[in-house]
Symmetry: C3
Subunit: 213 residues, 3 copies
């Protein structure tokens, strides 16, 4: 099974923490809008920021998840939750910009998830799927806990870019390319696709014909 | 702890894939009815087809789950999702027949889940429960993601046949009977019970007395 | 990593079973109120009583969870579910008293969860969080399955006492204090805080300013 010797450099950790922070803000904003309390804000921040990685790590048997072995990964969502709790009117006005950061987090997570799954011995197709799960899982847990159908189901292009980015990373590594350029290429594919979908308001196709089959 | 040497024969794999495919169709139909997009159709197909096995494997520590180590298990729900997306009016008309196939999937899954739990060293009672979880878990995840109370809670007899089938398999194996006849007997108990419940419209008992305690 | 030689004494097992039983009653009451059937009553009893421990054990890699290796842990929620199914009008009248028992269960679970997480090598902060998850997780699963926003999010002080109790236990053990007094102190902090919150109707703070950011 492949294993890459790249140490988690400072840059990678910073990227990961930024991704968690931005995802956590999106979770905290949902809690604020539902007029939930401070604890709910922190829990939705934590589950949104860390949930995708937790799902991946539990499924590949990498327990305890990385976020439970490194306190910085726990402080990031707590910080995001507190910031959102006290400054949510400002964050709400910035939401368009938060969405751009969120796309950045999605790009980081889908590649990191796929690489970790490959390292744990999974095949290319499951690894790409787990990359997608890492990217979208936190938001799905957030929406289920908040009592709404996951936004990722509602026609906005979100999961497809994550799957594409993870797929690019998996194919590159399987072809023997070095980790760093492969990771950058995968993240770029996800990021550009997601930003274009936001900008052009692309939608995923919906079923045609009578819906009440 | 017992271990049976039966190789997963072609027949067993085919049965498993049919079960996943049929369960996945029921998940995809829910997504179509909620007018969700193609991605939601595929995700609900996948979680419904594979979710029960994922829950079981995560709980018994059999990670990564079998479905992530064999690409055929991933293609079955994708195929079911695409078929449902494009042909859902036809499938909707066939739903009564789909329900019969679904009972078949339930019978296969409850026995396979119980046998796997025994192989991983669990006792008879937990093994029977995990057999039931394997059978009903995918549908429960489907309903939670689709934002509705799991149908398995709504009075239709669904979980009881699964628990009975798993229990028959566990008791038979604990008594030392060979795997194949035990598995067939367990699956038959589940299948016949479920089909009778559908045909006679049997309901699980509901609490009596004032509901708003 | 620390390991305490205290055998799970009869007292501890009894406390644990009482906690599971009381939590399971709260789950079963939700099912009865939603007019769900007997199976739903049993499943919500089981997930509420055992769900927190399952989440903790899956996250720290302690699979299969303890509750799947000891049949007494499975019979407790089944008993609670049956009692609730048949005597729910009486239980409903006793609910205020059930809430007190529930606080007792919360106190036991948050400490037991934190201690187990430390034994599995987690750091202090994750261990305290997992103690809280052990205490509140079952109720969250219950509410998601019952199709409502987790009550733990709705302003009643519930998670904070669990986190405080788990934190006291973790700090005590990290400072080298013996297990028994540390566990009692942690549980007492959680119990007293929770009962005071119930008695005085304390609420967690909510976000201020325009909610529809």
């Amino acid at each position: 099974m492949p294993h890459w010797d790249l140490e988690p450099t400072t840059l990678l950790v910073v990227l990961d923490l930024v991704g968690i922070f931005v995802f956590a803000i999106s979770g905290a904003l949902v809690a604020v809008r539902k007029e939930l309390d401070l604890f709910a804000v922190l829990v939705l921040a934590g589950t949104t920021g860390l949930g995708g990685g937790f799902l991946r790590d539990v499924l590949i048997g990498a327990t305890p998840p990385a976020a439970l072995a490194d306190w910085r990964y726990l402080l990031a969502p707590v910080g995001a939750g507190l910031v959102t709790f006290y400054f949510h009117p400002t964050l709400g006005r910035l939401e368009r910009r938060v969405t751009v950061f969120d796309a950045f987090g999605l790009a980081v997570f889908c590649v990191a998830g796929a690489v970790k799954a490959l390292e744990y011995g999974l095949g290319p197709l499951p690894a790409a799927l787990l990359g997608m799960v890492t990217g979208i899982g936190g938001g799905m847990v957030r929406d289920v806990l908040a009592g709404r159908v996951p936004v990722v189901f509602r026609g906005e292009l979100y999961a497809t870019p994550a799957l594409a980015g993870a797929g690019v990373a998996v194919v590159g590594l399987e072809l023997g390319a070095p980790l760093l350029p492969v990771a950058v290429a995968g993240a770029a594919v996800c990021l550009v696709w997601r930003l274009l979908a936001l900008w052009r308001n692309w939608q995923a196709p919906k079923p045609t014909g009578p819906a009440s089959v």
